[in-house]
Symmetry: C3
Subunit: 101 residues, 3 copies
């Protein structure tokens, strides 16, 4: 079995941004995503005390060049206006699995 | 304090597969796991619009050789039949902690 | 766009430890965090069968030296007494974003 390295892009954002972010991810080439619930408090003093309608963790496995484009897009269009965290991680998948779910 | 690198295996799968996957993880040598709720949409067009009974994120910290065996096992026995995502990440833990929880 | 590598610290702990751990993270220099729900079973035989009030996944993006201090602190003050998992991962962020949320 051969492994290959791809990028996991993780985005933490307010739930109201879900549709907009997912639309952008698809436009930038992401083929699937996973969403989990989150809450947090950060450098801007935002606090979410319950689990409903607050923050989402959006994750997508993509090729490195798409990961770069996603980060660039978020930095340009989201970071100035919204409380969004985004980071990428190198992960290993089975070659040929096409990030399926 | 000395750190050591181990593998974090992340599996996103339908909730109905939980018992089967956890059984397999134990058989392959995993000694503990963490489960979170997830939903997603991917290359097969699966869509989960609510949080109940849909997808789980299953994570386990294991030695590299066990991580390889888990990916191999999933690729052989799950990928052809189920909408499963799996990937491994290098993470650092405190040496001697035995991935405890 | 320039990327920089920082450390993602992930902590899985019982929900009753939330305030204590968050206090310690702030004291050690973390400027924000994300929390998700989790459950698990591990080497100590702890089992959480439902989602309420059991385990939390606490994540924070920090500089490498702060990540080391957090792991050291957890290993000294939590591992002997509580069922806590902690690990760090190298992740890439857009330089200058200051881990914002």
């Amino acid at each position: 079995m051969e492994l290959t390295t791809v990028k996991l892009v993780t985005i933490i954002a307010e739930a109201v941004l879900e549709e907009r972010i997912l639309h952008d991810l698809r436009q930038l080439g992401a083929r699937g995503y996973t969403i989990g619930l989150a809450r947090g408090e950060g450098t801007r003093g935002i606090h979410a005390s319950d689990w409903e309608g607050k923050n989402l963790r959006i994750e997508t496995l993509v090729a490195p060049e798409i990961a770069d484009q996603i980060l660039q897009h978020l930095a340009t269009h989201y970071f100035p206006h919204f409380a969004v965290i985004a980071y990428t991680t190198d992960v290993q998948v089975v070659r040929g699995t096409k990030f399926q779910r």
